[in-house]
């Protein structure tokens, strides 16, 4: 056995370890420290608002394209005979955050936010209603 072949790699490894002691740590001290989410991160959905109402016109393209079948839309007719989403629900337990809904939307009514803390105590709390999804200002 060649001592050089045995000890050199160990020393090299220790050098890297030693070097990290003096570098900024990679580990995030969550929840004391918050991660910086990338702009294209696909987290909780938000319904975009324009002129003080949801942009969604209940065209049903997002529930149609959704591979997880987690979106429920029910259209309603408002006083001026226009179409709006009377019900808009996303079941976050089923959602796979693929972003197809955003891609399919013809009126830019839905986007995905950086919100990723979706834990809850009850199953029903994972079903996000329209009110909870409307973008916060």
């Amino acid at each position: 056995m060649n001592p050089i072949n045995t000890f050199v790699p160990i020393i090299q490894g220790l050098k890297i370890t030693l070097g990290h002691l003096f570098k900024k740590p990679v580990t995030l001290q969550y929840p004391d420290e918050r991660p910086k989410v990338a702009a294209r991160f696909r987290g909780l959905h938000a319904l975009n608002v324009s002129h003080n109402k949801a942009k969604c016109v209940a065209c049903y393209l997002c529930p149609t394209v959704c591979p997880a079948k987690c979106i429920t839309v029910e259209a309603g007719e408002d006083a001026s005979h226009d179409k709006f989403a009377a019900v808009y629900e996303i079941d976050m337990l089923r959602c796979i955050f693929c972003g197809y809904c955003v891609e399919a939307c013809p009126v830019d009514a839905i986007r995905m936010t950086g919100e990723f803390e979706l834990a809850n105590y009850n199953r029903k709390d994972f079903v996000y209603s329209k009110e909870r999804l409307l973008e916060k200002k």
Partner: protein, 822 residues
């Protein structure tokens, strides 16, 4: 047949075909927007441009150009694709492209073609239209901003529906489809225009924003209203029937439907439906379990014998009617009937004695093949609107002569060259006898007639029916009768059509005999496009007749009610009928049901009759069960469930089977096995099975053994100073079921009394006045409708409505004499 080449393919096509039809026949698809196979070629959209080599490569419309021998056609050269793209670009120039909020998306011809031809950008710019959207009626929304001016709506309304509500108005770029004077749409709301609209200009409002087209499951079935037997496609989502879907290849009627068929489906998923069995305890109906309810019924039926009776609606399937018979026989009773007993006497007694078979010898398909149609009562259009469309097409497209004998004029009277003879109400039989007399006297009778049994007796019996003798009584001149008789006799092919039903007590067995005599005398039977067609009222009326759901040794519906009143009948089973509203003489029905010991009603809704029952069983609608319906022309059609049974409801088939088992009998397990039994035992149904019925259905054969039967013509009585009330069917309704369909109720929500302008002026009544209508039997309040179609001295009232049932003043007479006061 001519030979031609389409896209390098050698094909043959009929001489009369257009290029489009020839291509379609040979599996080559040419895009269209304005063409419909039911309508005459129009050539408005220019999507179907093709190149014909013989025409020096010019682009010509395929939908209007007839084929010729040796034509060499190309349907998709780069030049044609370019031209079609241009057409789409120009259409999209003014189209709002609001597909996300347009209900047509997914089923839109313009959208599909835009996608197919990849029209992603537009080289032109122009302003969009800003037409006002017509929301004035609850059934059809008209958004002319989306219109591509194909004209299909206007053409179908004219060519098939013959209403003419829509047409092109204005000129040039401002051209649009509009109603008269650009006002709101107010028509008969059959929705034909909605069905053919290639874009989202015309939409069904009851379905507005309910679901996307692609998310619907399409289930083909048969309409559950009248006896025409129209095929229907139901659009289902989440176990709910949300709409009816147009399919131009469905049924003899090519997908055409009437108001109730297209818009009257909401009763299937109505919130008013019964969900659980109800049992009367301490005077109140309370919810109970199925076992409890069925045990109660079975205990009453066990050994009941003739003290038990049954009345069924002709909306049950053939299989259910057979099972119902079996149940009553197990209980030891042969008292069962349908349709108030008298409603189909024209078939069961009239045709049975004249033709030896209780069915019409002709079919609906004969209408367009005929040369002369004789319609008894313009109500044939109201009772069977899709048969009415066939008459419209026969008259308008095929030049068939239309003669009408009626107590009032109606929509059919407005057809080109239609001749309506308006007679005194209740004298139909007399007039038909007189027509036969004219044929005999003028030697117009067919040579075969003298050989038919009963000829001599008929000749004798008709002696008193010379036109001169009957003219005063009937309110027609002798000349009119003679002209009609000779026109009928001289026509090569002539078809007599008359509706029957609970609202037409005057259309009796005698009338059917008289009509049969007339057809036999003139030799009009056994030829295509010729004969007699009796329009049975409900979707399975003919089936109920065929299944023999009434026996000569049992009581009929009227006798059953008498039996209830005299307490000889103690237990009555009513399936789907609502005698409190639809049977004559409200007081009599109420008293009879009141005196019953035990009333069982199986119903979809808690109707006026069900509310009186001791046990109410919730049953499912036609959309939830399997079975067969026999249409008026004996077309047997198979229905399959579109949705699962709602709540705890069960089909009549299951209920009757369970009761038979409880009584110790052996109940068949599936409708198919009962149908096998029907096929082997019912005359004319031999060889049928669910598989052989397929989607088109099969005609049960009608073997006619003709005989002349002397009809008893009722003497028309009149009362001076009173008006003749005739009961009938409203266009938007059929029986009492359509009251639970939202569409028909939007258009015609309540009963009314229709009277002539002359009478209204004389009595000083205005439209919508509340009038007290009094007959010898009672009085009631109805809204006045004043119309020009009613002759002086006659008033008309429809019979469908539970909110103001006309049977309060009507005791089943063909003509009721009434006075009107404000």
């Amino acid at each position: 047949m001519v030979n031609l080449t389409i896209d390098d393919k050698q094909v043959t096509a009929p001489k009369t075909a257009t290029i489009y039809e020839a291509a379609k026949l040979n599996g080559i698809n040419i895009p269209i927007l304005c063409h419909d196979k039911k309508l005459k070629p129009f050539g408005a959209c220019r999507m179907c441009l093709v190149e014909v080599e013989q025409m020096k490569g010019r682009q010509i419309p395929a939908c209007t150009t007839p084929v010729t021998e040796g034509m060499i056609i190309r349907t998709s050269t780069p030049d044609i694709v370019k031209a079609r793209k241009m057409v789409l670009e120009l259409l999209l120039l003014n189209h709002p492209i609001d597909c996300p909020v347009c209900d047509k998306a997914g089923d839109c011809d313009l959208q599909n073609l835009t996608y197919e031809y990849k029209v992603n950008a537009n080289r032109f710019t122009d302003e969009k239209f800003h037409h006002e959207i017509d929301y004035n009626n609850p059934l059809i929304e008209r958004d002319m901003n989306r219109c591509v001016l194909c004209g299909k709506c206007a053409r179908i309304c004219d060519e098939i529906v013959s209403f003419g509500a829509l047409t092109f108005i204005s000129r040039g770029i401002e051209t649009k489809i509009g109603c008269e004077f650009d006002e709101a749409l107010n028509c008969e709301f059959c929705g034909s225009c909605v069905s053919v609209c290639p874009v989202g200009s015309l939409l069904a409002r009851p379905f507005k924003f309910k679901a996307r087209f692609w998310s619907l499951t399409k289930q083909k079935t048969i309409c559950g209203y009248c006896g025409t037997g129209c095929n229907l496609t139901l659009g289902v989502k989440d176990n709910k029937v949300l709409t009816t879907i147009y399919d131009e290849n469905q049924g003899f009627h090519n997908g055409q439907l009437c108001c109730r068929g297209r818009f009257g489906y909401q009763f299937i998923n109505s919130e008013k439906r019964l969900t659980k069995p109800l049992v009367r305890k301490n005077g109140n109906l309370v919810e109970a379990g199925w076992d409890e309810a069925l045990d109660l019924v079975a205990a009453r039926l066990k050994g009941a014998g003739a003290a038990a009776a049954a009345i069924a609606t002709a909306r049950l399937t053939n299989e259910e009617l057979v099972l119902f018979k079996q149940l009553m026989e197990t209980a030891g009773s042969n008292n069962y009937d349908h349709s108030a007993g008298y409603a189909h006497a024209a078939l069961t007694e009239g045709f049975a004695s004249s033709f030896g078979v209780a069915a019409s010898p002709s079919s609906i398909l004969d209408i367009q093949k005929s040369e002369l149609l004789l319609v008894i009562k313009t109500d044939a259009y109201e009772t069977h609107p899709v048969v009415g469309f066939e008459i419209n097409m026969a008259v308008k497209n095929k030049g068939v002569l239309l003669k009408i004998l009626s107590d009032k004029s109606g929509k059919l009277s407005k057809l080109p060259d239609a001749k309506t003879l308006i007679h005194t109400p209740g004298t139909e039989t007399t007039i038909i006898n007189s027509l036969a007399k004219v044929i005999l006297d003028n030697k117009l009778a067919d040579a075969s007639a003298a050989l038919i049994p009963g000829y001599d007796e008929l000749e004798k019996a008709l002696a008193d029916f010379t036109p001169e003798a009957v003219s005063a009584q009937c309110g027609l001149s002798a000349v009119e009768i003679k002209q009609l008789a000779s026109a009928y006799a001289k026509a090569d092919k002539a078809l007599i059509i008359f509706p029957v039903g609970q609202a037409y007590p005057g259309h009796t067995a005698a009338l059917a005999n008289a009509i049969a005599n007339l057809a036999l005398l003139a030799g009009k039977l056994g030829k295509e496009g010729s004969g007699v067609l009796c329009l049975s009222e409900k979707n399975n009326s003919q089936g109920a007749v065929d299944m023999g759901f009434q026996t000569a040794d049992g009581l009929n519906a009227n006798q059953i009610l008498d039996g209830c009143a005299s307490k000889t009948i103690k237990t009555l089973l009513i399936a789907g009928e609502n005698p409190m509203v639809s049977y004559p003489d409200h007081a009599k029905v109420a008293a009879a049901l009141d005196r019953l010991e035990f009333l069982v009603v199986s119903e979809i809704f808690l109707t006026e009759t069900a509310a009186m029952a001791d046990v109410v069983l919730p049953v499912c609608s036609f959309a939830e069960k399997e079975g067969t319906f026999t249409a008026t022309d004996r077309r047997v059609q198979h229905i399959k469930p579109a949705i699962k049974k709602t709540a705890q409801s069960r089909s009549d088939f299951e209920i009757l089977g369970a009761l038979i088992k409880k009584l110790g009998g052996i109940a068949p397990t599936a409708p198919a096995s009962v149908f096998a039994e029907i096929a082997s035992s019912v005359p004319g149904y031999a060889g049928m099975s669910y598989v052989s019925l397929g989607e088109e259905g099969q005609f049960a054969t009608v073997a006619v053994k003709p005989a002349f039967v002397v009809p008893q013509a009722p003497l028309a009585k009149s009362e001076t100073g009173k008006l003749a009330l005739v009961i009938g069917s409203a266009l938007y309704h059929n029986g009492t079921l359509s009251q639970y369909g939202e569409g028909p109720m939007h258009v015609c929500p309540e009963g009314y009394v229709e009277l002539s302008r002359a009478d209204a002026a004389a009595l000083n009544f205005a439209e919508n006045d509340l009038l007290t209508v009094s007959s010898a039997g009672g009085s009631m309040v109805l809204k006045a409708r004043i119309s020009s179609r009613i002759p002086q001295g006659v008033v008309f009232a429809p019979y469908h409505f539970g909110s103001n049932p006309v049977n309060q003043i009507w005791n089943g007479a063909a003509v009721t004499w009434v006075t009107l006061t404000k």
